[in-house]
Amino acid sequence: MTAVATRVVSAGRRQRSSRRLLVELARYTVLTAVALLWLIPFLWIIITSLKPLEQVFARPPKWIPEPILWRNYIDALTNPGFNFPRLLWNSVFYSGLSTIGIAASCALVAYGFARMRFWGRDFWFLVMLATMMLPGVVTMIPTYVLFRVIGWVGGYAPLIVPSFFGYAFYIFLLRQFFLNLPWELTESAKVDGAGDLRIFLSIMLPLVRPALMVTVVFNFLGCWNDFMGPLIYLSDSSKFPLSLGLYAFQTKYQRAWNLMMAASLVVTIPMMILFFAAQRQFIEGITITGLKG
């Protein structure tokens, strides 16, 4: 290879690599700008939650509170309009029990669809897929009427009990996982004399843990953030979960933005902890939802 050829090639490469650098620079500029924009509301929650009230709408906006009022958190969490321990317990109770119900029922049903042979199985599975398309709006009112007739309105039963009857999407997700487990496991367990329930509980269930985790995490998040369900069924403020309690707090103390932001952050933090603890499940879950749902 001659020196000239080398020089031409490297010049071309240099040109290409400098163009590449420019593209990358543009890419990261946009990505970072959007990320900053995305973080501002979070930042503003934190900043506002530490401000004295008169600085909330200061002109120009104040980025550093003076003084930093950590007290706001105590004031918000001990405010009679925001009964924090009660609200927190209610949220944990609702999300926890519902999630237990969802995990148990969905795993059981998914196992049935994936590993058992019975008449009409494929038909029922199709029906289940169809129910995934059924919008909640069309079942909301009769469901309320039903719970009202049996006297459950006003408590958590209407929000929790349906969880024990499975949820189409999670059943679908878990079924995919059960389908992929080797049949030899079932056969050899049967030879050892294990019944179907035994096989399901002690052999198969531990193997679908990743999918079960996705189910648990998403259902917990969904209940924690649920607003309309508690709004429909609960009227006694001592029974409110955090989401509804936060709204009630806002309607009572419209202008106390600093306390409201402190309360908002406190309501959000458990979900952030959940997210960072189970980030992989979150991302996997959304990916599966999007591609195969």
């Binding site: 990505l31 906006p61 709006v137 069309v138 039903l146 989401s243 932001m261 979900m271 991302i283 990916t287």
Partner: protein, 327 residues
């Protein structure tokens, strides 16, 4: 003798097989029984009852009274608020869904080729999606305060003398809700990101050898191959945005105070944030007009159903499925 014993043998085997089959079926149905019961109680009954209630006058306390099509006639011809809620919801859906799709796709395409920090950016973009909707409505009400909210302060310092009134202004309240919904575009982005990863590298390599530039590859490879994912997000986005409730409830009801009258279902200035679900909720759970509210629910259900079927039907024209088969 020999024949007889064989016969006995086969019948008993057949009996055994039948018994086995029966127990297998029983066990199978036992496993799916929770869902079957749920199907009956929480899907089938409510679906049928919704249709039935929609032809009645029903306030929960007294048994429903059949009034034929009166609810529908009322809804479509006599209730101006109904059409207001329809147009508000359409406005919101038709702008927020395409905008959200475009934006999340844009982010996903940028992020997919990023070498470092992909985890960081992904986390930051997705984070708003886990914030409780009430909390995110509150922070956006603060940010978009017409007086000295952060956004309007920024707009003023950029030289805009009269920035929008956002949630306090009938013209700007829906754009404010749309901005709020865009903050949650990270979920869609994650789905697109996964879709992009599924596109075989070979296509790009072949195109590069043929000298195809970036835009050609984007329009001829990336977008067509991603179309099933776009399609899915479109359906889910539209259905989701028809059901918009919490943000409008919190932001629109703030001026009317809770407890009395329409409360959170007030719908903001000049009913500009009166979304379909808000009105439905108002009729059902504030006024206990379950018949009328059911008619609203059925109308919405039919629209969603038709839309979904139409999208599935026409998807063959523009959605590419792998293995070259066009559905």
């Amino acid at each position: 003798m020999a024949i007889a014993s064989r016969q006995v043998n086969t019948t008993s085997r057949r009996q055994r097989d039948l018994g086995h089959l029966l127990s297998q079926n029983l066990k199978g149905y036992a496993f799916i029984s929770p869902w079957l019961l749920g199907l009956l109680v929480f899907n089938a009954y409510p679906l049928i009852a919704s249709f039935y209630f929609s032809f009645t006058k029903y306030n929960v306390l007294k048994p429903p009274v059949w009034i034929g099509l009166a609810n529908y006639v009322n809804m479509f011809t006599a209730d101006p608020v109904y059409w207001k809620s329809v147009s508000n919801t359409l406005y919101y859906a038709l702008i927020s869904v395409p905008l959200g799709l475009a934006f999340s796709l844009f982010l996903a395409i940028l992020l997919e080729r990023a070498v470092v920090g992909i985890g960081f950016y992904r986390t930051v973009y997705y984070l708003p999606s886990i914030v409780p909707p009430v909390a995110s409505a509150l922070v956006w009400m603060l940010l978009l305060d017409p007086g000295n909210g952060l956004v309007n302060s920024a707009l003023r310092s950029l030289g805009m003398s009269r920035p929008p009134g956002w949630f306090r202004d009938a013209t700007w309240s829906k754009p404010a809700l749309i901005i709020m919904s865009l903050w949650g575009a990270g979920g869609g982005m994650l789905i697109f990101l996964a879709g992009l990863k599924d596109i075989p590298r070979v296509f790009y390599e072949a195109a590069e050898i043929d000298g195809a530039n970036y835009w050609y590859r984007l329009l001829r490879i990336t977008l067509p191959l991603l179309s099933p994912v776009i399609f899915f997000n479109l359906i889910m986005g539209i259905i989701g945005s028809f059901g918009v409730f919490t943000s409008a409830y919190v932001a629109g009801g703030s001026s009317s105070g809770g407890g009395y009258g329409p409360g959170g279902t007030a719908g903001g200035p000049l009913d500009s944030m009166l979304m379909y679900m808000l009105l439905l909720y108002r009729y059902a759970f504030r006024y206990f007009e379950m018949g009328y509210a059911s008619a609203m629910a059925v109308a919405m259900f039919i629209v969603i159903l038709v839309l979904t079927l139409a999208l599935i039907r026409t998807s063959g024209r523009w959605v590419y499925y792998e293995a070259g088969s066009r559905v």
